[in-house]
Amino acid sequence: MTLLTIDRITKAFGDNVAVDAVSLTIEQGGVVGLIGSNGAGKTTLVNLVSGLFRADSGSVTFEGRDITHLSVNERIRAGIARSFQLVNLFDQMSVLDNVALTVFAREGKTGHMLRPAEADVAVRDESLAVLRQFGVHAKAETPASELAQGERKLLDVAVACALRPRLLFLDEPTSGVSTREKAPIMDIVTSIVRSDRITAVIIEHDMDVVFRYSDRIVAMHQGRILADGTPDEIRANDEVTTTLLGEHVHQ
Amino acid sequence: MELLIIQTLNSLFYASILFLIACGLTLVYGVMRIVNMAHGNIYAVGAYVAAWTVGLAVAAKFPPAALFFVLLSGAGAAALLGAVLEPTLLRPLYKRAEEYQLLITFGLLLILEDLMRLLWGAHPLTASELPDAFGSFRVAGATYPGYNLFVIAVGIVAAGALWAFVYRTRFGVILRATAQDMRMAAALGVDVKRVYVLAFAIGCFMAGLGGAVVMPISGAVLGMGVDALILAFVVVVIGGLGSLEGALVGALIVGAVRTLGITYFAEIELAVLYLIAAVVLFVRPTGLFGRA
C-alpha cells in the first residue's frame, strides 16, 4: 500500500534550490535509506514532509490525504513523526517524562491540569515499556541531559516512536556516536520499527549502516533524486558511487 | 502655523534624546545579544556627571561656549562605566541563558540608582546657565529656544557619526561581522572580547550623551533612568531590536506621539504609544526594521 506520495516538491532558500521538483513514493513497511552528500537536500525533504518547512510548490499525500498545507501538529496526528540529527530532548525532564509527555500529548491528555501525571498508570506503563524497548529504562528517573550520547540518540528515537507513527523519519540516528555503538543502536531501532510496523526513512551518512539496514535506498544529489533501488542496485550504480564516494574521498 | 513649527521642533527634540538612549540599547543588543536593564540608569549617570562637572565649570567661571564641551564629560563617564561593567558583570554570563543578563542588569539598576543618590543626594541637579546662554531663535516665524535646537543638532550629528562609524569604518565592519556571527568572527581572528567591551562602551556613551544634553532642560533627577528605559523599550519595540535605522525611526515616531500627546491626549499618551507598538508588531512581528 502506498503510504506517502511526494509530487514534484520544491523548496528554495533565496537562490539555493534545496529540493528541486522531487517526486517519490514510499510504500508501507520496511526501511528506506536516504543518502546523499551534504547539501543534497535530504534534511530539507524531511523538513518538508514533517511540516517544519512549507513547500514552494508540489504536494505531499499521506495515506491518500493531501497534507501539503497541514501544520506540524496535524501531521503528527495523521501519523508522521521524526527524530533529529542534533539530539532534541527535554533535557531537564527525566527520561521517563520525555516519553510520558509524548504519550500524554498523543492521547490528548495534556490539558489535564489538576491531576498528577504519575497517577495515570496506563501512560506510565506504556512509557516504561517504550523505554524498555530502547534499553534505557534503567535510567528512567535520570534527567535526559545526564545520559550518554548513544542513549540520548536512542531516547530521541524513542520519543518519536512513542507517538505511534506509521511513518517515521530518522535524521542521522548514529551521527556523533562511536562506531562500536552504531550497530547496537541500529539493531534496536530497526527491530522496533519492524515489530511495530512503522515505515522508516533513515537519513544516514555512514554507508555501512545504510547498506546493512535498508530494504531500499534513495540517493539524492543537489536537490534531486539520483537513484532509487535496492542496496545491490545502488551499489552497482556507477553514478551514485562516483558522486558519493568522490565526496567521501575528498573528506 | 507657528504651533506646527514648534510641535515639529519639539518632536525632533524628544526624538534626539530618545535616539541617543535607544541607539545604545539597540547597538548593544545587535552586537552582543544583551539587553541592559540598567541602560536608563547609564543615561542618568550621564546626566548627573554632566550636571556636576558643569556646576564645577560654572563656579570656575568658564565661558558658556566651553560648557558644551564640559557636557561631554557625562558621556565620557558613562562610556567609562560601561567599559568597567561589561567585563566584570556581563562577561561571566555569556555562556548562560540570556535571562540571567536581565537579572544582573536589574541588580545593577538598583545599585546605580542608589549610587547616584549617595553621590549627589536626593535633590535634582541642573545647569540652567546653558539654556540661558543659547537664547532663543526665530525659526520660520516662531520663537524657539536655541538650546533645544542645539540638542536636535547633537542628535543629528550623533546619528550621522554612529552611522558612519558602523558602516564606513574598519572597526564598523568588524562590529557588524561580530553582530552577525560571533563564532565565525572569532574564528577569523576577531578579538571578540575587545569588540564587546567597545560596543558596550559606545552604547553607554550614547546614553550618557543623551542624559548630558537633556540635563540642562529637565535636570538630573533620581528615577529618570527608570522612566527613560520604558520609552527606550517602546522605541526599540517599534523600530526593531538590533537595528539602528529602527532606533531612528522609532525615536521619531515616539517623539512625535509624545509631543502630540502632551497637547492633545495627555492621560493616555503611553497607552497610545503602546497601541502603535502593538499595531507595528502585528504587521511586522520583529519591529519595523528588526530581524527575526
Partner: protein, 332 residues
C-alpha cells in the same frame, strides 16, 4: 519538579505530605507565639509567596521571564479598592472574585500579545505592557486616586461571618492571618497539582525544547498563553490579599521595578524548584525590611545581593540546598 530521588512515587508524596503538614501546623500556631508585627510579616511573606509562585509557573516551568507581573498584582489590588469605592463592596470573597477575575482578564489581553514572542523580547514586551496599566492608574487619578492611591479598610470575611473588630492590628494578626493562610495553602496545593499534571509536563517540555514540543504534538503557543493567564490569576490573587493588609494601594505596585522584586524573590529562592519562590518571597521580605531599616541606600544593598546571587548562587537558596543534599546523599 527537579528533586531526583529514587524513592517510589508514593514514598516521596508521603514525605512531602508530612513535611507540609508540619509547616502548616507551625504557621497556624505562630500568631499565639509571636507579636502581631511579626505575624503581619509572615502574612506578607505568604502573600508574596503566592505572587512569586504564580510568577514562577511562567519562569521555572514554562521558561518565560516576565518583567510585567506588577500589572497583575496591582490589578488584583486595585480591583478590590475600586469595588469598595464604586460598589461599596466590603466582603473579602467578593474582592477575591473581582481581583482574580480582573487579573485573569488582563492576563488574557497581555498574554495574547506577549506569547507570540519568547525570551528577551517577551520580557521587554511584558514590561512595556505592564507600564501601560501603570500609566493609566497614574493618569486617571480621579478614578484611581493617582499617587495618593485608594484606601481599603479591613474587609468582612467568610461572607460577613467575621467582621473587623475595633482593634485593627489584632484582626489582621489573627482572623485575617488565618484567612490568608488558608488561601495560601489552597493556592500552593493548586499550583503543585498543576505543575505535576500532564499540563505541567507539557509546559516543562516547552521550556526545555519548544521545537521538539511542537514535534510531539504540544500546541506551544496555546499552552504558553494558558500558563500566562494562570500565572496572572495567581499573582492577582496575591495583590487582592495584599490590600487589606497594607490598608492602601498606590501606583507603586504597578510600577515596573515592582515586577523586578517579584523576579528577585523567585531567583533568590531558586526558580528551578517548586518551593524556591515561596522561600524566596519570605527571604526577600525580611531582607528588604532589614535593608530599609538599616540604610537609606537599601536599593544598593538589594542590588548587590542580586548581582552576587546571579554570579555565585544562581540556583538560589532552595536550589542550592537541594543540590547540596543530593551531593551529600551521593557521598559514601
Amino acid at each position: 519538579m527537579n528533586a531526583r530521588v529514587s524513592f517510589g512515587p508514593l514514598a516521596l508524596a508521603a514525605w512531602q505530605l508530612w513535611g507540609s503538614a508540619a509547616v502548616v501546623l507551625v504557621l497556624a500556631v505562630l500568631p499565639w507565639l509571636i507579636d502581631p508585627f511579626q505575624t503581619l510579616q509572615i502574612s506578607y511573606g505568604l502573600i508574596f509567596g503566592i505572587a512569586a509562585l504564580g510568577f514562577n509557573l511562567l519562569l521555572g516551568y514554562t521558561g518565560l521571564l516576565s518583567f510585567g507581573h506588577a500589572a497583575f498584582f496591582g490589578t488584583g489590588a486595585y480591583a478590590a479598592a475600586l469595588a469598595l469605592k464604586y460598589l461599596g463592596v466590603k466582603s473579602m470573597e467578593l474582592y477575591l472574585v473581582g481581583g482574580v477575575g480582573a487579573s485573569l482578564l488582563l492576563g488574557v489581553i497581555m498574554g495574547a500579545v506577549c506569547v507570540r514572542y519568547t525570551r528577551i523580547f517577551f520580557a521587554i514586551l511584558a514590561l512595556a505592557l505592564s507600564q501601560v496599566v501603570w500609566s493609566l492608574a497614574l493618569k486617571f487619578f480621579w478614578v484611581s486616586g493617582g499617587t495618593d492611591g485608594l484606601r481599603l479598610p479591613t474587609p468582612t470575611l467568610l461572607g460577613g461571618l467575621v467582621t473587623p473588630a475595633a482593634d485593627k492590628t489584632a484582626f489582621l494578626a489573627f482572623q485575617y492571618y488565618y484567612y490568608v493562610l488558608v488561601v495560601f495553602v489552597v493556592a500552593v496545593a493548586a499550583m503543585w497539582l498543576m505543575v505535576r499534571s500532564p499540563f505541567g509536563k507539557a509546559l516543562q517540555a516547552i521550556r526545555d525544547n519548544e521545537v521538539r514540543a511542537e514535534f510531539v504534538g504540544v500546541r506551544v503557543r496555546r499552552y504558553r498563553f494558558i500558563a500566562f493567564v494562570a500565572s496572572a490569576g495567581f499573582t492577582g490573587l496575591a495583590g487582592t490579599l495584599w490590600v487589606p493588609l497594607n490598608g492602601l494601594t498606590t501606583p507603586d505596585i504597578l510600577y515596573w521595578p515592582f515586577s523586578g522584586k517579584i523576579v528577585f524573590m523567585a531567583v533568590l529562592g531558586g526558580f528551578k524548584t517548586f518551593l524556591g519562590p515561596i522561600v524566596g518571597a519570605f527571604a526577600y521580605n525580611y531582607l528588604e525590611t532589614f535593608a530599609v531599616g538599616y540604610t537609606i541606600y537599601w536599593q544598593l544593598l538589594l542590588g548587590v545581593v542580586l548581582v552576587v546571587l546571579v554570579l555565585a548562587i544562581p540556583d538560589g537558596l532552595v536550589g542550592s540546598g537541594v543540590k547540596l543534599a543530593r551531593r551529600l546523599r551521593k557521598a559514601p
